[in-house]
């Protein structure tokens, strides 16, 4: 089963195509990384997959053959947007209440135990938490929904190195222990290297490379994911700076 499948997918804002001719099949059970420079169309592709945005061309299905944004798709996908938006004036306990109320499934014992483990007080306002704690809270709420697919948009971009490590450790634990498929975007590869099993490289609104990491490394003769990605990013760079 493919967790995200796109064919001829495109999104246009005004006259600019943020994403063009995107055809993809991301298999389930992977930690898939969407890598590319800022403004490459990563967020657009994720927004299309979670149903926040409607496509201008082509189509995208998720979790097998569900239409992105349909009730069943919303039910099975948890999304943590860039900068982990939370209701800053609500307490952590209220955020749990809100997320629980808005979803069919919500594993409250898991959420409470996880926040306790992280030392995040329930009475604290979400806006008063540190950046790392806010990211962990958003991730905990997303995982407590027991999703089949976890979508993360630039999850670690705003975090310090320790918070990055802790955040990715939680993601990896969910992926390995609970079998949650993960699709995340990032413009840096450093902390993704060891968790990523599927890579999608995207520049200037177009997918340049997609496949299992092991296959890609073998086929292109690169030692590391970072090296491979840099090679492709450099190849398309002249177009960017033209």
């Amino acid at each position: 089963m493919n967790i995200v499948e796109a064919s001829g997918l495109g999104k246009r804002y005004g006259r600019t195509w943020a994403l063009r001719e995107c055809t993809l099949e991301i298999p389930a059970g992977r930690v898939a990384a969407l890598v590319g420079p800022n403004g490459a169309g990563k967020t657009t592709l994720l927004n299309l997959a979670v149903g926040l945005t409607a496509p201008s061309a082509g189509e995208v299905t998720v979790l097998g053959d569900l239409r992105a944004g349909s009730p069943a798709a919303l039910d099975g996908i948890a999304f943590v947007a860039q900068d982990t938006p939370l209701y800053k004036t609500l307490s952590v306990a209220d955020m749990i209440y809100v997320t629980g109320g808005l979803n069919r499934r919500f594993d409250q014992p898991y959420a409470l135990a996880r926040l306790d483990e992280l030392g995040i007080p329930l009475k604290r306002k979400a806006g008063k938490l540190s950046g790392g704690q806010q990211a962990q809270l958003a991730l905990t709420l997303a995982l407590a929904r027991r999703p089949r697919l976890l979508v993360l948009d630039e999850p670690v971009a705003a975090l310090d190195p320790i918070a990055r490590h802790d955040f990715m450790a939680t993601v990896l634990a969910a992926a390995t222990a609970d079998g949650v498929s993960v699709l995340l975007s990032s413009h840096v590869l450093t902390e993704l290297e060891r968790v990523t099993s599927y890579l999608v490289l995207i520049t200037r609104g177009q997918v340049r490379l997609a496949g299992e990491v092991d296959d890609l490394l073998a086929a292109h003769g690169h030692a590391s994911l970072e090296e491979l990605a840099l090679h492709y990013l450099r190849e398309t760079a002249p177009e960017v700076t033209r």
Partner: protein, 350 residues
């Protein structure tokens, strides 16, 4: 495999999914908007206390004046004068800012409760959280707007009942002004309707503008425009006005009808609108000395020369029909704007 905590999944499509119950939005809406609702409660509560204390003394003065016997005695006339003077001098009088202050309440509710509902989500990015939960974005928008709207309508309707109670002593013949002109938009039908319209304007402005402060400004401007248009142009046309040639009709203190305009005819043809032109007065009524002109002006004099003065008016009996007409179109407008907001939330790309 022991680490697998996944509950049984629904792998089928949408058909097998029963929607998440609407009632869950009640607690969520309360948690998110309790400060705004508390603000409304404090505002309406403080105004209600003020209205209650002013109304109690007004009702007492009215009761004392009407119970006084014999009514023609000097002592009783004094009481009636005290009551009548309260009509123009107290908090709700025409010249006092009290009534104007109350007219602002729907605007404030629309701007500070209605506009931020969606604008804050869109401005801070939390819509990416809210609209990707299982509840679904259009149901989320609908539930929120309807819940807040119902609460606001109930609170302002109760407040409108208090305004009507306050106004009761004036609704007899003692008070000269028409109830149409005074506090028309603050009664129990129109007040919640105006509040809902302002709330819906705010919600749609927030959805379109996507930023809180500009949405608040737009809401205040649109509400002011609508309120002024309704009071100055629309209200008098709700039903075709009646016309009378009774000269005494428009005298102060003779009724609570709403007079709209005057014109005169001669031999069944239109002669002039409003006050007679100077040429006509000089021609026929130059003998009427300035100090002999009564409250009717030159109308009795011109009547002797074949001129008939007409007064168009809305009778006092149309007060409640007008309330329902205004309440009706405002409710329809609010429903339309909220439907548009939900449509945009569902279809507009985020």
């Amino acid at each position: 495999m022991t680490a697998l905590r996944m509950p049984g999944r629904l792998d089928s499509g949408d058909a097998a999914l029963r929607p998440i119950p609407w009632r869950r939005m009640a607690g969520i809406t309360w948690r998110q908007h309790r400060f705004a609702l508390a603000g409304v409660a404090v505002l309406l509560g403080a105004l209600a206390v003020w209205l209650w204390s002013a109304g109690t003394s007004l009702h007492n003065a009215y009761a004392t004046a009407t119970a006084c016997h014999p009514a023609s005695s000097a002592a009783c006339q004094n009481l009636i004068n005290i009551f009548n003077s309260s009509a123009t001098s107290n908090v709700m009088g025409n010249k006092d800012p009290g009534g104007v202050l109350l007219q602002l309440v729907p605007a404030l509710i629309g701007a500070f409760v209605g506009a931020p509902v969606l604008a804050r989500e869109l401005e801070t990015g939390t819509f990416r959280f809210a609209w990707t939960q299982g509840f679904g974005r259009w149901r989320w928008t609908l539930a929120k707007l309807v819940l807040l709207g119902v609460v606001l309508a109930a609170a302002t309707a109760a407040f409108g009942v208090l305004v009507s109670w306050y106004f009761q002593p004036y609704s007899g013949t003692l008070y000269e002004d028409s109830p149409f002109a005074n506090l028309f938009s603050l009664r129990e039908v129109t007040f919640p309707a105006w509040t809902l319209a302002a709330f819906a304007i705010g919600a749609l402005a927030g959805m379109l503008i996507r930023r809180v402060v500009p949405a608040i400004v737009a809401t205040l401007a649109l509400y002011a425009g609508l309120a002024i248009a309704a009071a100055a142009f629309l209200r008098e046309h709700y039903l075709a006005p009646l016309a009378t040639s009774n000269l005494n009709f428009s005298l102060p203190g003779t009724g609570t009808a709403w007079t709209l305009g005057q014109w005169s005819t001669k031999d069944g043809r239109f002669a002039f609108a409003g006050n007679p032109p100077d040429s006509l007065v000089n021609q026929f009524c130059s003998s009427v000395s300035a100090d002999k002109i009564g409250p009717l002006g030159f109308a009795p004099c011109l009547a002797q020369h074949g001129y008939t003065q007409w007064t168009s008016y809305q009778p006092a009996s149309r007060f409640w029909p007008f309330q329902w007409i205004e309440g009706g179109w405002l409710l329809a407008l609010a429903a339309l704007l909220i439907a548009a907001t939900i449509w945009l939330a569902r279809h507009r790309a985020a």
